[in-house]
């Protein structure tokens, strides 16, 4: 039995007293659109990202429908190119990159640090407006007719030959990049300067370390993408040669500058997930984190080494073999800190008092899928193997295991874990577990066949294919249907729970973070008095205080 009265209440017998919190302090539209409260800005981001997630997802649905049959009988190749490009652009820059940092982190980081807000609340609001401006430009390019270059904008296709709205989409990505930089800057300064008394670096939750590493990449990587896109725009609009080989330029320069951002951006998209999973694994196994310092520094290690591996995207581009060797070696090296995290989560689970609440289901799913995604990344980092599978569905499957199996799982895990903090209400556990299980099953059914397809030689970015591949494509498309249903379920039951869910109380998980020491939903100023921290995170020693398995 629980010795601490934190179990969620049952039924609608909650107190009618209206306690002031961040949601009911000011309810006008103006109080939302001009807010500088990090919690409200997080909700603005939640709403926008949900819209972008379903735009990008809709493109994926049409792609998978088209691929159910070998002939290109639903859409033509040109439409297909525009669909997968829009899927990539929207999912990378308008969902995955901001997914956890701008929503979950925006909400919980000041709470975790015992701070009243981020260091620059107005810059935080500005970042949302920049995000929306970039999003509108990109959606405008979609409405106008789309982009057919792939999300990587490879030159000279993008600058000389593409007969689509490249400039508009590139401008959208530049603007959303400014939003990323503003976000990263805000978090770095906040973590350095706004920690509560006693909250030393080694007392920070790993979630904060992960976010810090993410922010470093956001701040140092994004400007390189910005300048690359500026050069691309100059070449495309003014018809001059920067990357055009006919005018003396080097198309590979684009690939180098682009991947200098875009490979670290992969770590922007996964590091916050690694942080989320650390919080979930410790909380739901009631254990201290195994090897805290290793896990903490592994985040920084991934961020630093991640800047040095971009050339592994260019093994078949004709770059020097010696460069390829070095990039291959470094790509193996960057797997080490990732593996440290997986091993340390496993060791944390060992002997733990494990509960399979929905967030934990997502976390465990993450560990398995991230491991598969990471291991297949090593296949691709091997020079000889990469030549065989480059630009095939093997690559597509690999990065979807990291991005979707990993990051989207972590996003949903985080969403369910902090949902009671954000809304003050519990989500329905049964439906949440069902959705988590369906998401795991649907994901594997969608993407595991793509490893086989790629190994058999099916190239990516084609709308038609030889009939012998059909069985794998049908499995994949069938999985995509399940995945789509699994993604729609939380939209329904989480919305329902905002109004009808049982009241959560301040700490429904009996978790140790500072964010759980303030009411749910938190008051506008986060804490009545600034907390003083006297011990490290994950102080889950007291098994006796743990409630019965439910």
């Amino acid at each position: 039995m629980s010795t601490i009265a934190v179990a969620p209440g049952r039924g609608p017998d909650e107190s009618a007293i209206r306690i002031p919190n961040y949601l009911n302090t000011g309810t006008t539209l103006r109080s939302w659109l001009l807010t500088t409260d990090h919690k409200r800005i997080a909700l603005l981001y939640f709403a926008s990202l949900t819209a972008f997630f379903f735009i990008g997802g809709a493109a994926a649905v049409v792609i998978r429908l088209e691929l159910a049959t070998p002939q290109g009988n639903l859409i033509g190749s040109d439409t297909y190119n525009r669909l997968f490009t829009m899927h990539g652009i929207v999912m990378v820059w308008f969902f995955l990159v901001p997914a956890v940092p701008n929503t979950i982190c925006n909400f919980v980081v000041p709470l975790m640090l015992g701070a009243k807000d981020l260091a620059f609340p107005r810059i935080n609001l500005l970042s949302w407006y920049l995000f929306m401006a970039g999003g509108l430009l990109t959606v405008a390019s979609l409405v106008a007719g789309g982009v057919d270059t792939g999300w990587t904008f490879y030159t000279p296709l993008s600058t000389l030959f593409a007969n689509s709205y490249v400039a508009l989409a590139a401008l959208g990505v530049i603007v959303v990049g400014f939003s990323s930089i503003a976000t990263g800057l805000n978090f770095i300064v906040t973590v350095h300067k706004l920690r509560a008394p006693g909250l030393t670096w080694y007392r920070l939750p790993i979630f904060i370390w992960s976010l810090y590493a993410t922010s470093v990449i956001l701040v140092l990587g994004t400007p390189v993408l910005t300048i690359a896109l500026v050069l691309l725009l100059v070449e495309r609009i003014l018809k001059v040669g920067i990357f055009d080989p006919a005018l003396g330029g080097d198309p590979l320069l684009w690939q180098h500058i682009f991947w200098f951002y875009s490979h670290p951006a992969v770590y922007i998209m996964i590091l916050p997930g690694l942080g989320v999973v650390t919080e979930l694994v410790t909380c739901f196994s009631r254990k201290r984190l195994f090897g805290y310092k290793f896990v903490a520094w592994a985040s920084i290690g991934i961020a630093v080494i991640g800047f040095l591996v971009w050339g592994h995207h260019m093994f078949v581009s004709g770059q020097s073999l010696f460069a390829s060797l070095v990039f291959s070696f470094l790509s193996y090296v960057v797997a080490v800190p990732s593996a440290i995290k997986v091993f340390n989560w496993t060791a944390t689970l060992h002997g733990g008092w494990i509960r399979f609440d929905a967030p934990m289901l997502y976390a465990l799913g993450f560990i398995g899928l991230f491991t598969i995604g990471g291991m297949t990344g090593l296949f691709l980092a091997a020079l000889a193997v990469d030549v065989h599978v480059t630009d095939t569905y093997f690559v597509v499957a690999h990065f979807h295991y990291i991005m979707v199996g990993g990051m989207v799982s972590a996003f949903f895990g985080a969403l369910h874990f902090w949902w009671p903090k954000i809304t003050g209400r519990m989500y329905p556990e049964y439906w949440a577990r069902t959705a988590a299980a369906l998401m795991f099953f649907g994901f594997n059914l969608t993407f595991f066949p793509q490893f086989i397809l790629g190994y058999l030689g099916m190239p990516r970015r084609y709308h038609a294919y030889p009939p012998e591949y059909q069985v794998w494509h049908v499995l994949s498309s069938g999985g995509a249907v399940l995945l789509a249903i699994a993604y729609l379920m939380p939209l329904v039951y989480l919305t329902w729970s905002m109004f009808r869910g049982v009241r959560a109380g301040p700490n429904p998980w009996q978790a140790t973070g500072l964010e759980w020491q303030t009411p749910s939903p938190p008051p506008k100023e986060n804490f009545a008095t600034t907390p003083v921290v006297v011990r490290g995170p994950y102080d889950y020693r007291d098994r006796a205080a743990h409630p019965q398995h439910g």
Partner: protein, 213 residues
């Protein structure tokens, strides 16, 4: 002005000042990588086309470029003096005048740069619009001038932001707005020096290459 309380997310004015400084330093780190992408492109093409780059950079106006370097370095000296006076809690009017001088020198720089652009256009040195060069060296030279316009153009945009910022701060300093809060002046100074420093890199790359020896 008497109201020297920190913003609500801070515990003290000291913390607020630290945060503001840290924010600008992180921003400048980001800016460094932004210009770094351009320098990388310049480096690649200079290695590809050493003769074209050398020949092209002798076509830039080294006299105006050097004058502009002196103008910008002087503006930074005034900015530095302004920050020192502000930190020593000197007269707001002195700070205002120093910042005004800084902003005016920035404007002078833009004026000289504009004159140069007109001259470059007159000399048929604008790629994609009107570019004439020795055919043998044309490819490298055209890439050089493309990068010349992009680099100096982006620098000028940064400088314009700096002029607006420092100009506005000059007026506020003159009115005594920074009597209790000095960090805005120091932070504007960091930005100004950064823009100056970018020019210190651009000047040898764009004007001196090909002129030595």
């Amino acid at each position: 002005m008497a109201d020297a309380r920190p913003a609500e997310q801070f515990a003290s004015l000291d913390q607020q000042r630290d945060v503001a400084h840290a924010g600008m330093w992180v921003f400048l780190a980001s800016e460094t990588l932004f210009f770094g992408g351009l320098l990388a492109a310049y480096t690649v093409y200079r290695i590809w086309y050493p003769e074209g780059f050398a020949a092209a950079s002798t076509k830039t106006d080294v006299v105006l470029g050097t004058i502009n370097t002196a103008v910008l370095l002087t503006s930074s000296a005034l900015m530095g003096a302004g920050v020192r006076v502000a930190e020593a809690r000197g007269s707001g009017r002195a700070v205002g005048l120093l910042l005004l001088g800084t902003a005016l020198l920035g404007l002078a720089f833009l004026g000289v740069k504009g004159t140069e652009y007109v001259k470059d256009a007159h000399d048929h040195l604008v790629p994609g619009y009107d570019f004439e060069f020795d055919e043998r060296l044309r490819r490298g030279a055209e890439l050089f001038f493309l990068l010349y316009f992009i680099m100096t153009g982006i620098h000028a945009v940064h400088l314009t932001v700096g002029i607006l910022l420092v100009g506005a701060f000059a007026v506020r300093a003159w009115r005594g707005a920074f009597a209790d809060r000095l960090e805005p002046v120091a932070i504007a100074g960091l930005y100004w020096h950064f823009v100056d420093l970018v020019w210190v890199f651009l000047y040898p790359l764009l004007y001196l290459n090909g002129r030595a020896g």
